[in-house]
Symmetry: C2
Subunit: 265 residues, 2 copies
């Protein structure tokens, strides 16, 4: 492993890791992954690459273990090592996990690959916690791709990545225009499109998904556009009286689990 | 509605709302509820009472609407009104929702009431997001009580309350000792006890819950104690290969939905 000691928080070589929280807000090249599990997904990903790591001295052994599975990467990726206090000063806050990686997409123009489904469509999902949870659920239940409309937030944002436990780097995702564009793409590709909606007409537990199925999830405030809800089957999850809706990631857990178990032999 | 204008951020009458974030950490009497939906639950709760509100001037109309359903409370509860800038200085951060309430438990020694179930048991849940989500799921699927072991975090913490969309104030919850104490209470009361566990032996979708059922959820790190897993049925949720576990609130969504739909006529 190619380790480089860093003692000066102003060292220009660790520029990527400077003021990490600020950068979440103002935008940046690439993305920041935190923690060992997330970095595992990054090292294993065919679509993303780590450009460098910043590691607290006390965590080197753990990172070395990670690289053991990817010996070639260990030769290529510089691993900057700093005392915890220096690391915290660089990042601008206390990095409890002690491991940060800077990553980049290998190709900005990856062609759309839908796989055999199920497909999860995220429309207007602006909360990074929800985005991260959607990916974790997608990975758990074998989703082959996530399609994001142009108003959804970036899954590569640090917090979304962390909540996803790195699955943002393993489940393929694509920006695919607005909701209508996405609906056209999926119906042309022969997917059964359904939407989750509190006012849906079909009870989820009575619904049998097709082999190739795509499920649209909207934001909790706005929900999905009316024209979509009028064009496709809408599913609802039975709930006790008194609450009007589930959190979007809870709705996704239940729906994707239903699809997964319906298809299980 | 009893409104009182506040112009001085150091006004001693709004002491409850001072440095709200700090207080989350250092402990305080009562709790802080944020946003209109959470405050609705507080006003309607038989177990909690609002002691005062702090409202941005631009949000008075919305709060007045809320009180319309509770005219007596409108006479009793002082509503402090401030300009947004003064409010932000009092609270110590930007209060986007513009409405805060200070609340208190009506009785510190409420006797345990289990209802007819399902019961959700939270063991070692230390993350406030997860705690809030557990309550939202509990409310959605008609849980009659949440039992917390003594290592779980406080559901009345501001963030847990917010994530729960106020359901922490509507679903009864009780601290009931350690996991063994809780298991004893529930089995003595005739509840079927089951636990969710990644290594569980019964597939959730093949499991038929009893009429009175209690489900134990542990933390993602530690999980549930071995003695419990050896004494009761353990359920597992089928997942795609590659991920070892779901987030605890995702597991709860799926499990509680399964119980709810199994009991639906």
């Amino acid at each position: 492993m190619k380790t480089i000691a860093v003692t000066d928080p102003d060292d220009p070589r660790i520029e990527h890791f400077r003021d990490v929280q600020e950068r979440d807000i103002v935008g940046r090249g690439g993305f920041i992954a935190e923690g060992k599990v997330v970095i595992d997904h990054l090292l294993a990903s065919p679509r993303f690459a780590a450009t460098s790591l910043l590691v607290a001295r006390s965590r080197i052994a753990g990172v070395q273990e990670r690289f053991a599975e990817f010996p070639q990467l260990g030769q290529q990726i510089p691993v900057y090592v700093a005392e915890q206090a220096v690391m915290d000063r660089i990042a601008g806050f206390a990095i409890h996990r002690g491991v940060l990686a800077h990553g980049q997409r290998l190709s900005e123009q990856a062609p759309l690959e839908l796989g055999d489904g199920p497909i999860l469509v995220a429309a207007g999902i602006s909360n990074h916690d929800n985005m991260g949870s959607l990916f974790r659920n997608a990975a758990a239940f074998g989703v082959s791709a996530v399609l994001l409309d142009d108003t959804s937030c970036d899954p590569l944002y640090r917090k979304a990545l962390r909540v996803s436990v790195g699955t943002v780097l393993s489940v393929p995702f694509f920006r695919a225009g607005n909701v209508r564009d996405i609906f056209d793409i999926l119906s042309n590709a022969g997917f059964q499109c359904v939407a989750l909606s509190p006012g849906g007409t079909v009870h989820l537990d009575e619904w049998q998904p097709a082999d190739r199925v795509a499920v649209f999830f909207g934001s909790e405030g706005q929900g999905l556009p009316q024209y979509l809800l009028q064009s496709i089957d809408t599913l609802t999850i039975a709930m006790a009286p008194g609450l009007d809706s589930l959190n979007v990631s809870a709705a996704a857990s239940i729906t994707l689990h239903h699809i997964y178990t319906s298809k299980r032999p």
